[in-house]
Symmetry: C3
Subunit: 338 residues, 3 copies
């Protein structure tokens, strides 16, 4: 049961309770329509009026206000909301061991019960930790190691030998461990270089739908703990991605590049190969990095500049047409004089 | 049977018939090689000669010409071609109810016969309308509602609770309803925010291969009727995409952005989060939108400008090297004077 | 067995042998840790010291040096490495005919034994050449022709009628033959144009994870021999891609464009529709091509320029802020004079 008292929610989020703590809450609700067994949220001052008139039993908010509802006052409503919403809507998790009869599991696969394997999933000779859910149609090849409490969504593919830590989430269509894009040039054509490394993914990483992470050529491609990637990201062979990194949709890193801890890539941001991007670099959307970034900070543009400079340059571009006109006039005047 | 008379084709496309209307046509043909039971097309004046000499039984064209073939004169050959080609090559459609023995269908799934479920497809406790085809390897989780005459291609994934209207097409590898990319920042790390909404797709939408549409955080992500997306597009959580919108390959929209009716995104065009793009905005390929676009029209560039201005600015850029040279000369001259 | 003598390796790579050729080699090793049955590699002068002290039985290198190990001297270590690594780590290849009991194979499919069909793969009425491996969860629709020694990775999809040559590799999530993005505009909405062509892929092509190749509208989309595409590339309907072409991750080509032999697209590089790009054009990462490129060479930028000009222009952009300042000063001075 996920039913819980207001006081327990206050403890869960480290909030200050105002009003009745014994009320039972059974779920999240919209301030305007929720009944007394729901908890609502005030994330912006503009919802204050709705909160004052709400029929919800409790409210999470940053500043107390006049209302019949119990209040839980927290310093960061977003964090508190994430915790309470996760309580009522936990991630998929295997509580009882179950392998669907249509799933094909290698007889020597080591499943640490409880594990849940969905219909038509294919699981090779691999090791899967307890609590992990493998959804229908996912394919896990031989030699893979998956930690505890992971979620592998439908039609995701883990190539042979890939290693995932605990609580890793791979959404539908994710591919981890495909061959790196490695060829030796022989005359005008290309000779495939076998990709002998693998991919090592640390704990608490999430991969959005369709994201692809290539295996290393000789060593491994590495994705640091708590890194989050949105849909359709791409990490090439031999890259090292740090911890707590965020990649928005379509972010891409070419081969052998290192991305430091806590970096943020905006949507479609891309980095070339064999580069070093230090920790705490933040790239705006669509930024293209073709050189090392050795200083933390905000960057933008194609080619990449410090964000402040990029913004000034774009501002100056607004005058380029006028500047050119003036330049051409001057040039003509000078020519007339001669 | 799809065999049909020339007169019936003329009626189908609202065209004017010249010549024999009773001839039976059995398919589409190339003007140079087609026999008398085929219909050919003149979409450009440069094919007029081939049309005059053709052995095809009938021709669709915009201007009548001298030929033995029957002619159907229409104002728009592209539209007429689409209709005639669809007659002879209809989309996959379930005419007889069939569930492949290897498919796994939840016993409480409601299939409105005839529905066709392919090999190794997995269908949860969901509702599917008549005429719909679910191809091999597709996975449809619990609570999904699919309308009539939809086509779900192989290895596509519909997450729990997703809603599709009628005649929706999802190509191979499409993912609808994956978790939105939502985290609350706690110190230097990221806390997952459960994504409790779903995706609502209206009638006649088509999604190209590998396209991913994320579910909403609390409310829903919405895709308007008749919108068409090419391969590898991405729509983030909470977006509202209008009707008759066109996204070329790789177009992306970040979270909570609203895209108006009849907008066109060129290939790789991308819009940031929490933006409003009004109806009838057309973005050129690779355009990056980081601000609201509140006026209909053509736009281009990174960062986005009105297309006309972007073209002038790019033209001016051609002179930038010369302008700089002149500027540096002047600067040096001024320095010499001092 | 893949065990082989040093002399045989020397012959395999066309190298010059120094030292004992009779030693048996059983695999590749790291210079620092390898034992006498391993072969190591010196690809950079900085590994020379490790090579001199190595316990490996043999070394592949470009310049002979002082060491106990047997040496194989070659002109290109990368090519030699690719060949030796492929010897010890060959691609997946069907040596014995095997169809997994859970695979669904059309009774009229023609499998030229030995072919290997993985668990939960679905194979329509198609033709597959000997040596080919179809991995779990892959879906191959009716009318497909696959040559010999191909590898179709998990959850890849080949639409009806697609043709692959020999030794083609399609990584996980690849989609070949999805409908081209073709619509006829009827008023404010879009009418689907049936896509009646297919995709023809020549020998030795490799497609990275999630890459999508659309079928032609009437004729075919063509991918030339030995072309290599990285992850998440996109080729639209009716394109002709030449031989020995290289597409880095996310490269995209819009409809009906022709890309010449030996072209190279950097990551995310994109070409618009109905363009001609001649042979030996090399596009830097994120380059956007919206016009024909009729001269071989290096290009860069959005919009595309010759790479040399792009680099100069970007350099000049560094001075734009200063130029504008000077311009505005001048303008103000002129205004003050009047």
């Amino acid at each position: 049961m996920t039913d819980v008292s207001v006081a327990a929610i206050a403890a869960m989020v480290g909030g200050r309770l105002i009003g009745n703590g014994e009320l039972t809450i059974r779920g999240i609700g919209d301030l305007r329509t929720a009944g007394p067994d729901r908890i609502g949220f005030v994330r912006h001052a503009r919802y204050a009026a709705a909160a004052m008139a709400t029929g919800a039993g409790a409210i999470l908010l940053a500043e107390p206000l006049e209302t019949k509802a119990s209040q839980i006052v927290v310093s960061d409503v977003d964090i508190a909301y994430a915790k309470v919403a996760t309580h009522f809507h936990p991630l998929p998790h295997a509580r009882e061991h179950s392998v669907h009869p249509s799933a094909i599991v290698h007889p020597e696969a080591e499943l640490e019960a409880p594990v849940q394997i969905g219909a038509c999933a294919v699981v090779g000779k691999c090791r899967i930790g307890s609590g992990t859910v493998v959804m229908p149609g996912a394919v896990i090849l031989d030699g893979v190691k998956i930690g505890r409490s992971c979620v592998i969504y439908p039609n995701a593919t883990l190539y042979h030998g890939v290693q995932l830590g605990d609580r890793v989430i791979a959404h539908a269509g994710v591919v981890i461990g495909s061959d790196g894009f490695g060829y030796a040039r022989e005359g005008t054509t290309w000779l495939k270089v076998p990709q002998l490394g693998t991919v090592v993914v640390e704990d608490d990483v999430e991969f959005g739908a369709g994201t692809a992470i290539d295996r290393g050529t000789i060593g491994n491609t590495r994705i640091g703990a708590r890194t989050k990637m949105d849909n359709q990201c791409h990490v090439a062979h031999n890259c090292t991605i740090g911890t707590d990194v965020v990649f928005a949709a379509g972010a891409k890193v070419a081969g052998s590049t290192s991305v430091g801890d806590r970096c943020v890539f905006g949507g479609n941001a891309a980095a070339g190969g064999h580069l070093t991007i230090v920790a705490d670099v933040r790239l705006g959307g669509a930024t293209v990095v073709l050189r090392d970034l050795l200083e933390a900070g905000d960057y933008m543009g194609f080619p990449v500049m410090q964000k402040r400079k990029w913004m000034k340059t774009q501002h100056a571009m607004q005058d380029l047409l006028e500047m050119r006109e003036a330049y051409l006039l001057q040039k003509r005047a000078a020519a007339d004089q001669n």
